[in-house]
Symmetry: C2
Subunit: 214 residues, 2 copies
């Protein structure tokens, strides 16, 4: 009964995902999404309470493609590493969500599956409950946290991103060596490579700490 819908939450989310993939997350606006759907922007409010609600749905969609299935012949350490990298990648695919929502765990479908997988691997690594929890919290703090701060820059186009890094580096290189000797000598090496590489560095450091502590 009533007018037949041309839109649906699913179609909207799918289009939003395409739009983010094509133009970057910063171009995902109610108006651009309306245009991509061929409808008036305000029509979206028939399916989502507000733009945050929409962002959540899009974020959930991205979280669904983290591969949490156990793999044969994979060490617990490699598995934990892979899980965290996958979580980060999924979160960076929806920056706005990564920056806001991760203050609290959603405790819903995809996130539960991920959490189970992470604890499964930690247990396999020989960590008992209280220690495993501390390791879990540490890994999540690093993975989700770093995704949150990398989200903004990850939304940029590669060329712009590199230009931004270069600008930061230039500022550090230009420092007075008398006042900032340590920073100055480290400056040429700052913000080389990708944020993903820096995250993996940090993750490996933490994993090394975990192994040393076990």
């Amino acid at each position: 009964m009533g007018r037949p819908p041309t839109l649906s939450r699913e179609r909207i989310v799918d289009t939003a995902v395409e739009l983010v993939a094509r133009d970057g997350a910063e171009h995902l606006t109610v108006r651009s999404l309306g245009e991509a759907l061929g409808c008036d922007p305000s029509a979206l409010y028939r399916h989502f309470r507000n733009v945050d609600d929409l962002h959540r749905a899009v974020g959930d969609h991205f979280l669904s493609d983290v591969d949490v299935a156990p793999r044969a012949r994979e060490s617990w350490r490699t598995a934990v590493r892979r899980l965290c990298i996958g979580l980060r990648a999924a979160q960076l695919r929806q920056p706005r969500l990564a920056a806001l929502v991760h203050a609290a765990p959603t405790r819903l479908g995809n996130e539960l599956a991920f959490t189970e997988a992470l604890f499964r691997e930690l247990r396999r690594g020989g960590f008992r409950a209280p220690t495993a929890v501390r390791a879990y919290h540490s890994l999540i703090e690093l993975t989700v946290g770093s995704a949150a701060i990398d989200a903004a820059i990850a939304g940029l186009a590669p060329a712009e991103r590199e230009a931004e890094y270069q600008r930061w580096r230039a500022d550090y290189v230009a420092l007075d060596p008398a006042r900032f000797p340590a920073v100055r000598s480290a400056a040429p090496h700052l913000y080389r490579g990708s944020a993903d590489e820096r995250f993996e560095d940090a993750l490996d450091l933490m994993l090394a700490g975990l192994v040393a502590r076990r």
Copy 2:
């Protein structure tokens, strides 16, 4: 020569800090700041290139009370630990503003002083430039990132915060042991203690990794 200025970067930043403290960082806009200063919003552009420039200046202001002075008889590891904990504390003091700023380093006075101190200690710990930079990036990623995601919950009153943690824990405890065995058995230990303690756990893990790698 020229018309005498009624504004200055310092007065603008001070007013912005008051405004953030009173209304929260999400209400810090060019227009509201102009009103608080009793001037036209566009006047701010005589002192800041854009709103990002302003945000960095305000954010840097909050870093001023991190103690970065070197201490006698303090190991590099203890010093690095203290510096990171101090940085986190400063950022959690203005949670919402931290959310605005954390995307990019401010590269201004207080942040430079902090960065210099951190590199000074890492160098003292025997790390050479490229390795020190990787350690620096890892520590910052963890410290700033975890502050970003802890910011929201840190703003709550202690009682509310504990109630929130208990709610999360209850959700995990209520899970079906058949589908989520690993999470279920870890559940009673989740979100015990403070976010600060969990951060220090993670930091110690990373420091242990650093030592192991050195």
